[in-house]
C-alpha cells in the first residue's frame, strides 16, 4: 500500500501533462483515457507481429524488445528488456532492444496517458505492462509446442528461449515455434511469476545492451544523422529572454560558401547551409537587430533581491499555501531559528547539445531525434505544420544526455527545426544544430529559487512550529501542460517527514512570472527542497546538541509509518559509512536523506577542503526503490546522480547581467571532472514492493550532505549554492 501510494507521486508530472493536454486548445472536454486515441489520429497502421507492440521474435530465436521510452543514459532499455525476458524465459544474451515508434495509443506511459519519459517512471509504469507482454508471448509459444506434441501445456517448461517436455525429452527453440505460436490467441490475463521465481530480475546479469555500440563510436545520436540531400541549420537567438528579431542583414552570411538560405523565425534567424561548419560561419557573419521591448533586462542579483522581498511578504506576488497545519496564530512568537537559502539557475548542459532532424512535406512530417516526450513533440509539431499529431512520425534516437532538457512543454528546439524544414519544404531533411553556446544560453533552466525558514524550537530541541517560504518560477506555466499551482516547486518540502513531525506548519510558495524560461532538471523541485530541509535539520540538531542521525531518527518516529523507509535507508547508509567512527583530521561526514519519485535515498559524504574548495572523497548511498530490477544500473544511477548533483552544488550557476546570460560554455560553466569525482558505494534496501524511481533520486541528497559535512567541519552553515563562488 505504502509503495503503491508512493508510486502516485511520480505521476504528478504526468497528471499535469495530462490535465494540460485535456484543457489545451487542441482537445477540449475529453478524458485522459481518450487522450491517447486523439493524439494518435492520423497515425499510420503499425504492422504488429503476433506478440503485440512490445515483442518481436525472429526465426533465429532472437527477441527484440520495443522500448517506448527515451534512452538518455539511465539504462531503462535494459530494465524493460529484463521484464520481458524474465516472464518469457528468454535467453538474455539473445535479447535486443530497439526504440518503439511514436504512438500514444500503443506506447503511452501508463502514468502519463501519453508517450513520454520523465519523473523516473520508466520502470514503475512498465512493471506490469512489459511483464504481461512477456508472459503472454510465453504462453503462446508454450501452447504452440503443446499442440504440436499433443501434450498438456502444463507439462512443459521454458528456459533460455527453449521449450521442453521432460517426459518425452523433446525440445523446441522459440524460433522453431513462431509460425504455430502466431495462430494462438494471446491470453488476456497471463499469469505472472512470483518474485521468488525471478531468475534475471534483481541480478547483476541485467546489464546495458548498448555498451559495445557506445564504446566503439557506432551508437547513432541525432548529431550523427546524415540523410541524402540533408541541410544543416544554425539559429541566431536573442541574447535576452523574451527578445525577438526586429531586422537582419544576411548579405555577408549568404556570401559564406555553403550557405544556401537565411530565414527569420519567431525565435530567431536561421542560417541554412550544406554543412555544420558553413552554417556556423554563416551565422557569425549574420547581423541581427533585436527587439527587447518585452525582454527580461534584470540581472540575477536583482531578481534574487526581489525574491527576498517577496519571501518577506513585501512583494506583490500572491502566496499559494502548500502545507498548513495547526494553529499558526501565536505559534511563531518568541525566539526563532531562521535560515535562508539561495539556489541559482542551472543549465542541464547535456554533452550533446539540443538538435533535431526534421522533414516536412505538406502535412507529412518525419522527425529523427532523441525525443523524450514524443506525444508533446508530435502535438507541438502538428500545430506548426497544420496537421494531425499522428501524421508526425518520430524515429527516436538515444540522447547524449537529457536530465529533463529534451522533454519540454514547448518542444522548443523541435519546433525550431520543424519551422526551418517547413520553409525548405519538399520533405528535404534539415538538421538543426545548437552549438554549446546556443544550448547553454537558451534557458529552460532549473529555476532560481529562494527558501526562507523560521522555526520555533520546543524545549525538547525539536521543531514546534515551522514556517517555510519558497520563491521560484512555475515550470508548468504557459505551456501545454497547464498553469496554476505547480506542485513541483515545493515537492520534497511538502510531504517531508520533518513537517509531518511538527505540530504547526505554515508553508507557502510564491511563483513570480517573467520571461526567463525554466524546466524540470534531474529531480526537479527536490534539487532545492532537499537542501533546504536537510541542511536545516542538521543546524537544528547541532543547536540541540544531538547527533544528526539520531535527531532524524527521532523525527521519523514522530512522523509515523510514512517515514519507515527513511529510517531504513538512514540506518543502512550510516552502518556502511561507519557513521560515528573517527576520520582523519580535516575530514568530516555529512548525512542527508530525501524521498523523491517514490524512492528514498540516504547519502553520507566524506568531505575535506582542498585548495579552498570542498572535495568529496567517498559517498555511501543507500536506496529503497522497491524491487531492484537491475542492481548494477541502479548503482550506476546513484554514481551519476551524485556526480550530477555534486557538480551543480560545487560549481553550477547561470547568472544574468542586464538580462544576458554570462556563462556560454564549459569555460565559465564549470562542471565536475575526473579529479573532483567522488567514489560512490551503493547499497539497496531489499524490497518486494513495485519498482520506483532510480534516475533522479540519487541527485537531491548530495548537496545537503556536503553542506552538513562542512557544518561539522567548520561550524558554518551554507546559505547559497554553489559552494565554490567564481573568482
Amino acid at each position: 500500500m505504502n509503495a503503491i501510494s508512493k508510486i502516485a507521486r511520480p505521476s504528478r508530472r504526468a497528471v499535469v501533462i495530462g490535465a494540460g493536454l485535456v484543457g489545451g486548445a487542441l482537445v477540449v472536454g475529453c478524458s485522459p483515457k481518450d487522450m491517447a486515441g486523439l493524439v494518435s489520429m492520423g497515425s499510420p497502421d503499425l504492422h504488429l507481429g503476433p506478440f503485440g507492440p512490445f515483442i518481436k521474435i525472429d526465426p533465429d530465436g532472437s527477441v527484440t524488445v520495443m522500448n517506448k521510452h527515451q534512452e538518455m543514459g539511465q539504462g531503462n532499455h535494459a530494465g524493460l528488456a529484463a521484464l520481458i525476458a524474465e516472464e518469457l524465459d528468454a535467453d538474455w544474451d539473445k535479447v535486443k532492444v530497439t526504440p518503439s515508434a511514436a504512438n500514444a495509443k500503443l506506447y503511452a506511459n501508463t502514468l502519463f496517458g501519453v508517450q513520454g519519459t520523465g519523473g523516473s517512471t520508466a520502470m514503475a509504469n512498465s512493471w506490469l505492462q512489459y511483464r504481461q507482454a512477456g508472459a503472454a508471448a510465453r504462453a503462446m509459444l508454450l501452447q504452440a509446442a503443446a499442440t504440436r506434441w499433443g501434450v498438456d501445456a502444463a507439462t512443459l517448461s521454458v528456459a533460455d528461449g527453449v521449450v521442453s517436455h521432460a517426459a518425452s525429452n523433446r525440445t523446441a527453440a522459440f524460433g522453431d515455434l513462431l509460425t504455430d505460436a502466431a495462430k494462438v490467441a494471446p491470453p488476456q490475463a497471463p499469469k505472472l511469476k512470483d518474485a521468488k521465481d525471478f531468475k534475471l530480475i534483481g541480478t547483476m546479469r541485467v546489464a546495458r545492451k548498448d555498451t559495445p555500440a557506445k564504446s566503439t563510436g557506432v551508437a547513432r545520436y541525432t548529431q550523427d544523422v546524415h540523410l541524402p540531400d540533408m541541410l544543416t541549420a544554425v539559429v541566431a537567438h536573442s541574447p535576452r529572454f523574451g527578445g525577438q528579431p526586429a531586422s537582419f542583414d544576411a548579405t555577408a552570411a549568404k556570401a559564406v560558401p555553403g550557405v544556401v538560405d537565411v530565414v527569420q523565425l519567431p525565435t530567431g534567424v536561421a542560417v541554412i547551409a550544406n554543412s555544420t561548419y558553413a552554417a556556423r560561419t554563416g551565422r557569425d557573419a549574420l547581423r541581427v537587430t533585436w527587439n527587447d521591448d518585452h525582454a527580461e533586462r534584470r540581472s540575477t542579483d536583482q531578481i534574487l533581491a526581489d525574491y527576498h522581498r517577496t519571501a518577506a511578504g513585501q512583494g506583490s506576488e500572491k502566496a499559494t499555501p502548500f502545507e498548513q497545519r495547526g494553529d499558526v496564530a501565536g505559534a511563531f512568537s518568541g525566539p526563532l531559528f531562521q535560515a535562508s537559502y539561495d539556489f541559482p539557475y542551472l543549465a542541464h548542459a547535456t554533452m550533446e547539445p539540443m538538435n533535431c532532424v526534421a522533414q516536412v512535406n505538406g502535412g507529412k512530417v518525419k522527425l529523427t531525434f532523441a525525443s523524450q516526450i514524443q506525444t508533446l513533440d508530435q502535438i507541438n509539431t502538428a500545430m506548426v505544420v497544420g496537421t494531425l499529431p499522428g501524421s508526425v512520425e518520430i524515429e527516436t534516437l538515444p540522447a547524449g544526455g537529457s536530465f529533463g532538457r529534451r522533454g519540454n512543454n514547448h518542444s522548443d528546439y523541435v519546433v525550431e527545426a520543424v519551422r526551418i524544414a517547413k520553409h525548405v519544404g519538399g520533405g528535404r531533411p534539415v538538421k538543426l544544430v545548437w552549438t554549446r553556446e546556443d544550448d547553454m544560453t537558451a534557458g529552460l533552466y532549473r529555476p532560481l529559487t529562494h527558501h526562507a525558514v523560521a522555526i520555533r524550537v520546543g524545549a525538547d530541541g525539536f521543531p514546534a512550529a515551522w514556517r517555510h517560504r519558497v520563491v521560484t518560477q512555475s515550470i508548468s506555466k504557459g505551456g501545454l501542460t497547464g498553469g496554476g499551482f505547480d506542485a513541483s516547486t515545493v515537492e520534497g518540502t511538502e510531504g517531508s517527514p520533518y513537517l509531518a513531525a511538527t505540530p504547526v506548519v505554515d508553508g507557502v510558495v510564491y511563483m513570480p512570472d517573467f520571461p526567463v524560461t525554466v524546466l524540470w532538471w534531474r529531480s526537479v523541485g527536490s534539487t532545492h527542497t532537499a537542501f533546504a530541509m536537510e541542511h536545516t535539520i542538521d543546524q537544528l540538531a547541532r543547536k540541540a546538541g544531538k547527533d544528526p542521525a539520531d535527531y532524524r531518527r527521532a523525527l521519523y518516529a514522530r512522523a509515523g509509518k510514512s517515514a519507515d523507509r527513511h529510517r531504513a535507508v538512514l540506518d543502512l547508509a550510516c552502518e556502511k559509512a561507519g557513521w560515528g567512527q573517527p576520520l582523519p583530521a580535516g575530514t568530516a561526514r555529512g548525512l542527508a536523506v530525501h524521498a523523491s519519485f517514490g524512492s528514498v535515498v540516504a547519502q553520507v559524504a566524506e568531505v575535506t577542503m582542498k585548495n579552498g574548495e570542498p572535495r568529496v572523497g567517498r559517498v555511501v548511498c543507500a536506496i529503497d526503490c522497491g524491487v531492484a530490477i537491475a542492481p548494477d544500473l541502479i548503482a550506476a544511477q546513484m554514481e551519476g546522480g551524485v556526480c550530477y548533483g555534486l557538480s551543480a552544488a560545487l560549481f553550477g550557476q547561470i547568472t544574468l547581467k542586464d538580462g544576458v546570460v554570462e556563462q556560454t560554455n564549459f569555460d565559465a560553466y564549470r562542471v565536475l571532472r575526473m579529479n573532483e569525482a567522488p567514489h560512490v558505494e551503493t547499497y539497496i534496501v531489499p524490497s518486494a514492493n513495485p519498482p520506483t524511481g532510480a534516475g533522479e533520486p540519487g541527485t537531491p541528497p548530495i548537496a545537503p550532505a556536503v553542506a552538513n559535512a562542512l557544518l561539522a567541519l567548520n561550524g558554518t552553515p551554507t546559505s547559497s549554492l554553489p559552494f565554490v563562488k567564481p573568482t
Binding site: T276, Y277, G400, G401, G640, N665
Partner: protein, 152 residues
C-alpha cells in the same frame, strides 16, 4: 583545393577550407561520426582523437595542420582494443556521448603509461567531461585495461 589526410591508416582527399576544424571534416565530410562535438573550444574532450599517438582536440585543430599527422579516431581502434573491452566489462557508458573522447584519452594515456596511478588518471582524464558521472567506472576500466594480460 583538396587536403590529404591520413586517418585510421587510410588517405582521404578532403575539400574543406584549410582553417576548417578537423572535427567537422571527420563528422560532416567523411561521416566518421564517432568523434563528437561537445563544446568547440577544447573544454570538454568529446572530440578527442590521436595525432601521431597523442590525444588532441579535433575541434581546435585546423585541417591544414592535421594534414601532417597520422590521425586515429575511435573508429580506428577497431572495436576490440583492450580499453574498449574494459569499458564493456565495467559497463562504463550511460548516455555514451562523451565516451569516444574518454576512450581516446584513455588509450593515449595507457600507451605512454601502462600502469597509471589514480593521480596519473586524474591528470590525463580531467580534460574529458562526462555529465552522466561515469568517472569512477572510467577509472576502474583504465586500471583494468592496464593490468598484464588485459586484452579483448
Amino acid at each position: 583545393m583538396a587536403t590529404n589526410l591520413n586517418i585510421n591508416g587510410q588517405t582521404y582527399a578532403v575539400q574543406a577550407a584549410p582553417e576548417t576544424p578537423l572535427l567537422w571534416v571527420l563528422r560532416d565530410e567523411l561521416k566518421l561520426t564517432g568523434t563528437k562535438y561537445g563544446c568547440g573550444i577544447a573544454q570538454c574532450g568529446a572530440c578527442t582523437v590521436h595525432a601521431d599517438g597523442k590525444a588532441i582536440r579535433s575541434c581546435q585543430t585546423p585541417v591544414a595542420q592535421a594534414a601532417a599527422m597520422k590521425i586515429t579516431t575511435i573508429e580506428g581502434l577497431g572495436g576490440t582494443h583492450p580499453v574498449q573491452a574494459a569499458w564493456i566489462k565495467h559497463d562504463v557508458p550511460q548516455c555514451g556521448y562523451c565516451q569516444s573522447g574518454q576512450i581516446m584519452s584513455a588509450t593515449a594515456l595507457l600507451s605512454d603509461n601502462p600502469h597509471p596511478s589514480d593521480d596519473d588518471i586524474d591528470k590525463a582524464m580531467s580534460g574529458n567531461i562526462c555529465r552522466c558521472g561515469t568517472y569512477q567506472r572510467i577509472r576502474a576500466a583504465i586500471h583494468a585495461a592496464g593490468q598484464p594480460g588485459a586484452a579483448a
